[in-house]
């Protein structure tokens, strides 16, 4: 299943996106560039502020950690030097989580992280904030199988798949920029460098490999093209948005 995205649907925010994938639904809103508090002002750069609101209750240290990770990643792709002394405020509200989320035995912040990154990026695109590149992220879980010693990979698993593949040996979140640079990695569990390297390779294929790359899941098919990677998906979302906005211009 390809992720679903709706862009610019909140008309009071500068940019917004709702992203749905594998039972995760997140609303993202971006306001910016706006005036920044004197205290947070950076003379040569824009301040980036990320707020993550959980599906239930108020934010906890776990959300602060996610915010820090998102902040570090997004700050490296937003052209902060072109909009100095302003604020880019990104708010992400988790709307729904899959039912099995809490019982997978995997850190819930890791499973949520790729979805938060995608939502934030789509909202930034919708708000027309200058970016140096795009970012796509994927979750990879390694679990031991009975027949072979080497762990099997689950690429972008659903919560249900994680539950059935218990016990999970390690989970990895990778985020790649449009040029294929690794922007973020969070790996947890017990694993070797070689396992990590293999996981990184498959993540790179899912995120940004051109032609012949492994697609996300089996039934991923948009516009009749199979084996589409996340970057193509992202391009497609933006293409649809631009086509919609240009419909009067292009109409003859």
């Amino acid at each position: 299943m390809a992720p679903e995205a709706v862009l610019s649907h909140l008309n009071r925010a500068d940019g917004s996106a709702t992203y749905t994938h594998n039972g995760y639904c997140i609303i993202g809103a971006v306001n910016g560039p706006i005036e920044v508090l004197r205290r947070d002002e950076i003379p040569e750069e824009a301040t980036v502020e990320v707020n993550v609101r959980p599906a239930v209750g108020v934010g906890s240290p776990k959300e602060r950690h996610l915010e820090t990770l998102l902040h570090n990643t997004l700050r490296s792709i937003i052209l902060t030097r072109s909009i100095p002394r302003t604020l880019v405020q990104i708010t992400l509200q988790v709307r729904s989580l899959p039912d099995e989320e809490s019982s997978t035995g995997v850190s819930t912040s890791l499973t949520l992280l790729p979805h938060l990154l995608h939502t934030a990026l789509l909202a930034l695109l919708s708000a027309l904030i200058p970016l140096s590149t795009t970012v796509t992220a994927v979750l990879i879980a390694l679990h031991s199988t009975k027949d072979s010693k080497a762990p099997a990979q689950l690429v972008s698993p659903t919560a249900n798949e994680l539950l059935r593949a218990k016990p999970i040996r390690s989970v990895h979140v990778f985020a790649f920029s449009g040029e294929g640079k690794m922007l973020l990695n969070e790996s947890d569990g017990a694993f070797s460098y070689e396992e990590w390297d293999e996981a990184a390779e498959s993540a790179e294929e899912v995120c940004c490999k051109k032609d012949g790359g492994v697609g996300l899941g089996e039934g991923m098919e948009v516009d009749g093209r199979e084996g589409q990677n996340l970057e193509d998906w992202l391009r497609n979302v933006v293409r649809t948005k631009v086509a919609y906005e240009q419909r009067w211009k292009s109409a003859k």
Binding site: P61, R64, R75, K166, R169, H172, L183, S187, D197, A200
Partner: protein, 356 residues
């Protein structure tokens, strides 16, 4: 030092003393340091360490009187105090029913069940406090900053994912003298309570690499924690603790995961006046201090555990990799970082185990 900013013609007006150069232009200052030395020698950072050099770890255990275990850890000018305090959580105060299984095997399944029990009952409670004046960035008297909260989350999740503390050390069991259902069978132990470990980390001063300091302090404090023997008193129907220190038991930890933090310093070409040398140069700095952290955006933290004796790239020794903030480190660089973390492991292991 200022030679890189000043043009080659001797204009004394454009040369600054060292501290002013560092304050006015921190990025060129560090770059000048790293690229200025002779090719025969390894480049030195502003703090006179080479790029691969970590700071020496100083560990002092048992410094606090009223704690079950405590340490003071120093990494250069970063110093943290960690105190572990154990308190009893009675079984009747635990919400919901807990299935008590005493299978001692440590298969993946069992570890996962333990992890779940520790996390749902919150038997490990880390907390981070920054003392007034520990770092200029910290404003005293305010709520815990997102910096502190992030640190707590990282320590807490690493404690859980490495299964460092054994649940068997935290359980308070009671074996009745006879089995009430079947007098001939051996009596089965009953769960009467848990020990909850409150792990407080207090920074006296911060000079970069807070996570390594925090984790090493936690690790050394847990290693030196002694928990009194707790037993169920049938007559009083309550848990009592033994006053005799000989009866107390130390925590037996699973493995010895040790983090190594690296900062990527991205060289900028604008300051390279040479012209021909047009490739971008990046440095991976081990164990960054506060000044280096202020000019480096990308951080990588690799946690390795070589206590099983293996050190190769095929062995499952990596416990965690955290990387964010930039795209300099690729898969090949990461291999080198894991190797550096393995080397660091041996060094820190000696310090924690008290060997010179």
């Amino acid at each position: 030092m200022a030679a890189t900013t000043a043009p080659s013609t001797p204009t004394p007006a454009l040369t600054f003393p060292r501290p002013i150069f560092a304050a006015v232009a921190p990025h060129p200052f560090l770059q000048a340091h790293l690229s200025a030395s002779k090719p025969s020698k390894a480049p030195l950072r502003a703090n006179t360490r080479t790029a691969h050099e970590f700071r020496r770890v100083g560990v002092n255990t048992g410094s606090l009187t009223h704690c079950n275990g405590s340490t003071v850890v120093r990494l250069g000018n970063t110093s943290a105090v960690c105190g572990v305090r154990a308190e009893i959580l009675r079984e009747e105060d635990v919400q919901g029913t807990t299935d008590y299984a005493s299978s001692p095997d440590s298969s993946d399944d069992e570890l996962e069940r333990e992890r779940e029990e520790i996390s749902t009952l919150r038997l490990l409670v880390p907390n981070v406090e920054l003392s007034t004046g520990s770092t200029p960035a910290h404003i005293p008297g305010s709520a815990p900053t997102s910096f502190a909260q992030t640190l707590i989350t990282r320590v807490c999740s690493l404690l859980l994912s490495t299964s460092l503390v054994r649940l068997s050390d935290l359980r308070i069991l009671y074996t009745p003298p006879s089995n009430p259902e079947d007098p001939d069978a051996d009596p089965t132990p009953q769960l009467k309570g848990y020990w909850v470990l409150y792990i407080d980390i207090f920074y006296i001063s911060i000079d970069g690499n807070v996570f390594d300091a925090a984790w090493l302090a936690v690790l050394a404090a847990l290693k030196n924690s002694v928990i009194p023997r707790a037993f169920w008193d049938e007559d009083l129907e309550t848990i009592l603790c033994d006053d005799d220190p000989k009866e107390a038991h130390a925590l037996t930890l699973r493995g010895l995961p040790i983090p190594s933090t690296f900062a990527m310093f991205e060289g900028k070409r604008e300051w390279n006046e040479s012209g021909e040398d047009d490739h971008e140069v990046d440095w991976v700095l081990s164990d960054p201090d506060a000044f280096e952290e202020s000019v480096c955006r990308e951080r990588v933290c690799v946690v390795v555990d070589c206590s099983s004796g293996k050190k190769g790239t095929k062995d499952g020794i990596v416990r965690r990799v955290e990387k964010s903030g930039g795209g300099v480190v690729d898969r090949e660089t990461m291999k080198g970082l894991v190797k550096r973390a393995v080397d660091r492991w041996a060094e820190v292991e000696k310090a924690i185990n008290g060997k010179p």
